[in-house]
Amino acid sequence: MKTSLRIHPAIGFARVGNSKDYYLGPETMAASPIAGSDLTGGLPIQKGTEDTPITSAEVRDSEGKLKRQAARFKIYQYPTEGEKITYPTPGGEEVVIGSMVDGKKVIDIIWTAHLGNKKANCWEIDEDANEGIALYKPHKVTCKGDTFEASTPPLRNPDYKASEPQNPYKVNPADPTRLKELIIDAGPRTIKASNGSTPIAFNNTTQASYYDTTKCRIKPIPQYPIQFPLATGTPTNGSDPIDYLGEMLTEPNGRLLVLGGHGLACAFNNQGEFDPNQPLCKDVDNNNWMDDTSDGPVTAVLVFDDGIQPIPGSAWVVATDPSYAPQTLNVVSLWDDVYNTWLENFNLRPDIYNGGYVDSYKPYFEDDVFPTLNAAHMQMWNTNLPSNAITAHQNMRGLTQEKPPIDVMQFIRNPDGSQNANGAPLMPLSLGDAAQSFLTLSEQQYSFLEKWNNGDVSDTPPIKLGPGEQLDKTVLVNCLGGRFSPGIDLTFIVRDVNLYNSNWNDPAVGPFRINAAKLSYATAQADQPFLGIGYTPLDPSLKVEPGDLCKFMAVPWHTDYNSCATHTPAPNPAHPPTGDPSIDHPVTDTNVFTGTVNTTLFWSWPAQRPVAVYTFEDLMANTDRGQLPEQRFSVRGEGTEAQAQLSSPGCPVTGYCNPPEPSFDSKAMNVGRYQDRRNILTNWMRIGVIMQGPAIEGYPDDFDKDYYLEVASLFEKDQSNKVIFWPNTVSDNVFPPED
């Protein structure tokens, strides 16, 4: 029986930073208790170490720049697998230089990765439609009186190289000019671990290369059409030329580290010229902008004394936003969404889901229930929860595997759709996506919670995930799920079966793998774009190319991060809820006080986009020693004082298809963010990071070890507004901060 080899994690996450320095992505689950440690999981790892968590002193480099987060990839061998694997796969042993695989010693590891960014040639998320992946189903669109069928949302940058405004539904994304000039393609790079101390850059000067398994050698591709369409220009007010998407290097034992970009955004005009004067008119879909996030496949080859062994499958790396609150667990994490897709579509765990959630499956409290309760509690560190909510969450976290003393389900929104329009007291009390006003737990989370609520749990620990599969899970647990509007790490595409390689039972593939396109580097030609349209949601015929995952995220990511503090629900349900909850009843100046719409503001991504924080500095200055101080907004620099209307200088007043309707806006709707989107481009790196007390340099021994506090903020003066605890409404007055 031949040993199987797989790279883990299946999907790894690098995060941008303006520093050249970096730390490693966390390999423990956010907020998860760690035996023998005061620290809970989720903290990034110091570079050069196996698992030493960073401290607050390591968030920034010596120049005060925000460090990047490297995605670390490892290879695991599974010696005893048969023809088909099941999930979870027990065991698995890491393969490093010096390991034995099938009796042969590994003397080197050669890694190949390929980074791209296709955001500017992707379809909009369509903030107005707010339908998510449903917009990739055939649907009727009316544009300028013309009704036609579309199978995508409108395309970004429809007017690129056009002499007149174009119908964004009818522009061809496969146009060679668009593929060449609107896609950043750094191309593939190969690194030999034995030479890995020198990083290999994904830039426009480093030659592309790949490992030719037929010739057993690293093969340069001088003709590879590396594309950095906006590599030159004078950096101006947050618009920077982009000639670099990141780099890769290896650890001495052969593991791969992939770093992302420096968090740059770059504006261009429709002639393809660097043009920093382009406006930022949207939170998600800004035409005429790019950024330096990226994604792409990661493959590896083991080198033995007498030959090589390619790892047959591939992993995928995604470089995305910084993690400003790495220990705050999402109530619905990316893992919950991915796992749900796999449970319900790939027969991953027929004992849990087999055409429906299996009655006889008994959840294991620690794995299946506690994380949800714990996540609810953790939200207090990033949001302006009132004290009674904090207390309630703490009490929920204190529950055990015993049948709870109250009916917990009375507070949990049913994911069957029947309670989509009901806000408080149903939880989670944050916003949903895709025509769903409020967030719901994923179906399996709800099922596990419901069973526990009935006292129906297992006393027996389940099969423990092997270290490789645990890594697959851990990195996804540490990312945002639930509200893909579009999100921070990945978006609604994770709910599409076509994103994944369905042949997961094959030991050469494994679960949770991206359905990677085969990239024939030998065929690359200079001046011919190598990457095409690539993955398109719901289309099983198109496989996934570099840049296909991050392309659905906001462009640039910064504006979406800035915006996604608090909002009213969308669709805004009629109040009290009646009829179809997917019909939007937006707040207007004539209904704002009628009680017929929901004017309360809710959090978008509370775990990963901190809104209101307790700062370590305020805690130390608090005269009531050790007691939590008042909160501040996380984003609070110059230009964050709330205005009644977000500033959008230079933005067109009409869209091509539908003139935008004037929308209701107020100061209370704009707290905790920059009022001019442009300012987030030059200030995102100043935002502080939330860390647990014992990870903070100088944290007093007698202070509560379960405080999670903001450190390393570069906002010297609070210029935003006073944080008022929830509930907040659109008609609230706002006040200056205390000091």
Binding site: I406, Q410, F593
Partner: protein
């Protein structure tokens, strides 16, 4: 029996199996009354006997499965008039028990010191135009008290183990009063005033609050009644009928379709300065409240108040009944009666008998709520009016489990008696000893 006959005739509408609001059908209106009034709407007027002698004692049995919307408002008004009748030199409600009289030890407590300034949920404090906090107190009647004492619901473990399906019995009554401090020379000719004892404000955890551990009481302060919650249990309605009353000149109603910058009224009101815009009224001051002059007990900022939902909303029938009944009572009261200057804002209850169940919240199941479905008292729930999940009585008074209990106390399962915050407060905080009235 005369009262029942009169009232049933007086508010005759379509009789339905439930109390769902209906448009009155002319054919069902008693001919005599049709002759007496020209309106073609439902006729909801107070019976004459309320005004010819002592107000008849309200009977919980007045509500039956055949009762209509008007009946509930009638009983609400009757309670108000009965409660504000003078008995032995006091208003009747001041002869009842305080919320502290729910233990055997303090069961005789009727010392109605005004001891509440924080509004529920919001933690804000209504600051009147003179910078003084508006005060409240909570009162219970003998039926309420007896139920608690007999079932030992003052005991945490007993309450925890109490049958979740049992609710308060008919006749139970709980009130929340709302009083404004009268300034020297202030015109109070239209207000009911008296001298009461109040607990003074001091700095507690950096904010002006009453120090509940050691309150300072000021005796004989002239106060004026500006609001009164009357929550009572008629037959079949353990959810309580939550009715609320206010002084006529407290605050203006929001104009229809008001926007953020719409002035609410061109006139000054007791708690409102002319031409204040919608965005600047009902602004919660939790977190920003400060003493202007602690010795004078004055605070800043002043709260501008407006009533967001006239009649507490609800159907046209509901609102019409309230309007008619208010006019009817005002017309019928003696011209010298101070209570002519008060009105029912609204009342809210369930649309059929015996619907109350544990673990219920109106924000999840709204369909059983009827009457004034967005009811607040502008002086008691000033700040929560604009929050859709908190803008009616049941938003807070429901049968959900109580989860925000302090460390060391078990969460309390959903129960019908959880409607009572007197009980929930006692469950969390334990027995509250009444202050000494010396």
């Amino acid at each position: 029996m005369l009262f029942f006959t009169l009232s049933l005739i007086a508010c005759k509408e379509n009789k339905q199996d439930s109390y769902d609001d209906v448009t009155a059908d002319d054919s069902n209106v008693d001919k005599e009354l049709t002759l007496a009034r020209t309106s073609t709407d439902a006729i909801c007027v107070a019976p004459a006997e309320w005004f010819t002698g002592p107000v008849p004692t309200p009977d919980p049995g007045f509500i039956t499965s055949a009762s209509n919307n008007c009946d509930f408002h009638l009983l609400s008004w009757q309670y108000f008039l009965w409660l504000t009748e003078e008995v032995d030199g006091k208003l009747r409600f001041e002869t009842m028990f305080t919320n502290k009289a729910i233990t055997p030890e303090y069961q005789n407590d009727t010392y109605h010191v005004l001891d509440i300034v924080e509004q529920a949920l919001s933690k804000g404090m209504l600051v009147d135009q003179n910078g003084r906090a508006v005060y409240s107190s909570i009162i219970i009647n003998d039926v309420f008290q007896k139920f608690v004492l007999e079932n030992k619901l003052y005991d945490r473990e007993t309450m925890e183990a109490f049958d979740p399906n049992i609710g308060f019995p008919p006749g139970s009554l709980t009130l929340k009063t709302s009083w404004k401090i009268v300034q020297e020379g202030e015109d109070t000719s239209k207000l009911f005033t008296q001298n009461s004892d109040i607990e003074l404000l001091t700095m507690v955890n950096g904010e002006p609050r009453i120090d509940k551990d050691n309150p300072t009481i000021q005796k004989d302060v002239e106060v004026a009644l500006v609001g009164l919650h009357v929550a009572f249990v008629p037959d079949g309605h353990a959810e309580f009928v939550w009715a609320t009353f206010e002084f006529d000149n407290n605050a203006p109603d929001f104009p229809k379709d008001a926007g953020l910058n719409t002035p609410i009224s061109a006139d000054d009101w007791l708690f409102y300065t002319a031409n204040t815009t919608a965005q600047d009224v009902n602004t919660d001051n939790a977190g920003i409240l400060a003493f202007k002059d602690q010795a004078a007990q004055t605070l800043t900022p002043i709260t501008q108040v407006a009533r967001q939902f006239k009649n507490g909303g609800g159907s046209d029938t509901n609102q019409s009944n309230i309007t008619q009944l208010n006019a009817s009572v005002k017309d019928s009261l003696d011209v010298g009666s101070i209570w002519r200057n008060y009105f029912e804002v609204g009342a809210v209850w369930f649309n059929a008998p015996d619907l109350l169940k544990p673990d219920w919240n109106p924000n999840v199941v709204d369909s059983i709520v009827t009457g004034s479905k967005m009811l607040s008292n502008a002086t008691i729930e000033t700040f929560t009016q604009k929050i859709v999940s908190e803008n009616q009585c049941f938003s807070c008074h429901n049968t959900n489990a109580m989860t925000d209990v302090p460390s060391g106390i078990n969460m309390l399962g959903g129960k019908n008696i959880n409607l009572s915050h007197v009980l929930l407060k006692n469950y969390i905080e334990g027995t509250e000893a009444p202050p000494s009235n010396n």
